[in-house]
Amino acid sequence: MTQIFSSAADAWLRLLAAGGLALVAGTTVAAVGFARSDYYTGANIHPMSQPVPFSHQHHVSGLGIDCRYCHTGVDTGARAGLPPTHTCMTCHSQVWTNAPLLAPVRHSLAENKPLAWRRVARLPDYVYFRHDIHIAKGVGCETCHGRIDKMPLTAKAKAFTMQFCLDCHRDPAPNLRPQDAITTMNWKPDAKTPAASQLAAAYHLRLGEITHCTVCHR
């Protein structure tokens, strides 16, 4: 009998085996990574197009308008709410009255058709998030929505994964601020700010009780 395989065959076989293993391992790692990627979570990626190129940067840091001026529901209800066209027109009936950029707003008013914004920060429908309680317990806008005052066009700042929510629900203290700093952007605790633990106590946080399922899912 003669050799069935050339001496190179073994090399190929081993190469193949190694390649196969590498592929499997690589795919696994890639999949786990992909689920966390900005591409998948939609965080920090290019802002989606809106009917009006509304600039938070201009309105917040430029004009210093408080978040609650437009998002009126934020401390009273589950939803922050988008401003009705009328809110826009309170100013824009005076300034930029016929700026082409604002045409959609004027049409909306004229034809009594809502502006069709596209939702930037959305949670899955089975997550029952309440803005008001988070505000009431001292979680600032910035914590979840990022430096909105630096966004000419609005983009999602954080990956709203369950892990993201859990991190804070397990240990809220580091993300707490005094009520007067809720809407402040780029807020840093200063000398007068009470320590995180004191804040947590002051807000009567039910630590360890806000991670069970029905807090968010019903």
């Binding site: 009998m1 069935i4 395989f5 073994d10 076989l13 786990v32 689920a35 369950m162």
Partner: protein, 452 residues
């Protein structure tokens, strides 16, 4: 069993003949026509299976006859049934290897093969029966962005691990045992294609003394592990029920009861396959009537032990005096599904009694029929254990009933295709009987003979 002394294989055959005979089966396949017919039939069943699964996944488990309270039926009970069948393969192979029962060697290869695909059929059911199978991966611990993990206290979670472990170990055990024979087949092969095929699969096995040494260590170690594994796997399957509070499930005897039942049904199927294969490939010289005789005895033994389980279950219920338990026993014996109970008794134990007679054990036909009835009987038993416990549990108000639908049946019958197709391919492509081990036995016997 005293067979280890008496010769199990006819001695008037040389090592060479045996080698050629067995290695020829893949290389110069006999009975091509019958094999092709069998394969195409199996293919049909497999297609039926595929179609049913597509419908199932698109429409939902509602296409089955399930309801509340009977929200488990065919899927789970066929899962248990298939898994049970699988166990015999491992048992025969491993247990008897350890006990040095030579007669095993003629049976272990296809017994193990049978195990592999029985376990595949079993393993696919828990997936099919999910309401949302596309989230199956949630049952495995992986770093999820949800931060949630599987629930390791759940018998269902245990089962996933048990079955996957069992499948992996079975494959490894099967393959390790196969390597030397693949080598032998390679050396018999003349056509290039076959040479490469067996050459690669045999990993260049060359039967060096030191290789044999390590091979034997590994193989025996695997066998030693396989036995407790089998026991644990089916015990866990039984926990899937025993861990619930439902009367008729919540019982201490379940693990033993299930393992024995599993071996019982498994040996029956091994016997069936042995009989078919030996006639199909004319292996009467290797799978001898003595083998059948032994199988018959084993079948009888495990059968009687299972019967004990039945008796004890009833005793248990009345001994506990627990109203619901007694109610369940009553429902089993006289309820709407009494036919499953009595069916199980008849098919499992009545025909079985034939095997007290040697001639019956040694007659392929009789043994085959008895084995078939056992397979059916055990299927009925699983059905009975599931449905009769669920359809009437505690509250009278939630009593219900269950009737399998077309799709229940189509998927079950389809799994036969899922089992047969790969099985047929394997016996077409690989040596169905362990060559090296058979030769070892043969040589020992000849040696004994020559030394007087």
């Amino acid at each position: 069993m005293t067979m280890s002394e008496a010769p199990i294989l006819p001695r008037d055959q040389s090592l060479g003949d045996v080698t050629d005979q067995l290695a020829r089966i893949p290389l110069h396949f006999p009975t091509r026509r019958r094999w092709l017919i069998a394969l195409s039939l199996s293919m049909l069943l497999l297609t039926l299976f595929a179609v049913s699964v597509v419908v199932l996944f698109t429409r939902g488990v509602g296409i089955w006859g399930l309801n509340i309270p009977v929200n488990w039926a065919f899927a789970i009970h066929n899962y248990v049934w298939w898994l049970g069948i699988g166990h015999a393969g491992t048992l025969i192979s491993a247990l008897l290897l350890l006990m040095g029962r030579e007669w095993r060697n003629s049976l272990n290869r296809f017994a193990e093969t049978m195990t592999l695909f029985a376990v595949v059929c079993a393993g696919i059911y828990p997936v099919l029966h999910l309401g949302r199978p596309w989230y199956l991966y949630w049952m495995f611990p992986y770093p999820a962005t949800m931060g949630v993990w599987p629930q390791f206290r759940s018998p269902l979670e245990w089962d996933i691990w048990a079955v996957l472990t069992y499948l992996t170990v079975s494959v490894v055990f099967w393959y390790v045992g196969l390597i030397p024979d693949l080598g032998a087949a390679r050396d018999r092969a003349r056509r290039r294609g076959w040479q490469v095929f067996f050459g690669v699969l045999s990993l260049g096995w060359r039967g060096s003394a030191v290789h044999w040494l390590r091979w034997q260590q590994a193989y025996r170690l695997l066998a030693a592990l396989a036995v407790p594994l089998v026991v644990s796997v089916h015990s866990e399957v039984s926990l899937l029920f025993a861990a619930g509070t439902i009367p008729g499930w919540h019982s201490m005897i379940f693990p033993a009861y299930f393992v024995l039942g599993a071996a019982f049904s498994g040996f029956a199927v091994v016997a069936m396959i042995a009989i078919v294969i030996r006639s199909l490939f004319a292996l009467k010289n290797l799978v001898t009537d003595d083998h059948l005789d032994i199988l018959g005895k084993v079948l009888l033994a495990t059968g009687l032990m299972t019967a004990y389980g039945y008796v004890f279950e009833i005793f248990d219920a009345f001994y506990s005096g627990e109203a619901h338990e007694i109610q369940t026993v009553h429902d089993r014996i006289a309820g709407a599904y009494a036919w499953t109970y009595w069916g199980a008794i008849v098919f499992n134990f009545v025909f079985l009694q034939l095997l007290w007679w040697r001639c019956a054990r040694r007659s392929p036909l009789v043994l085959f029929l008895v084995s078939t009835s056992v397979a059916i009987g055990m299927w009925l038993e699983r059905y009975m254990i599931l449905v009769t416990s669920l359809y009437r549990d505690f509250l009278v108000s939630s009593w219900g009933s269950y009737t399998p639908t077309f799709w229940d049946w189509s998927i079950y019958i389809g799994t036969f295709g899922l089992f047969m197709v790969p099985f047929l391919l394997i016996i077409r492509l690989f040596p169905v009987i362990a060559i090296s081990e058979t030769k070892e036995v043969l040589h020992e016997e000849q040696a004994e003979a020559s030394h007087g």
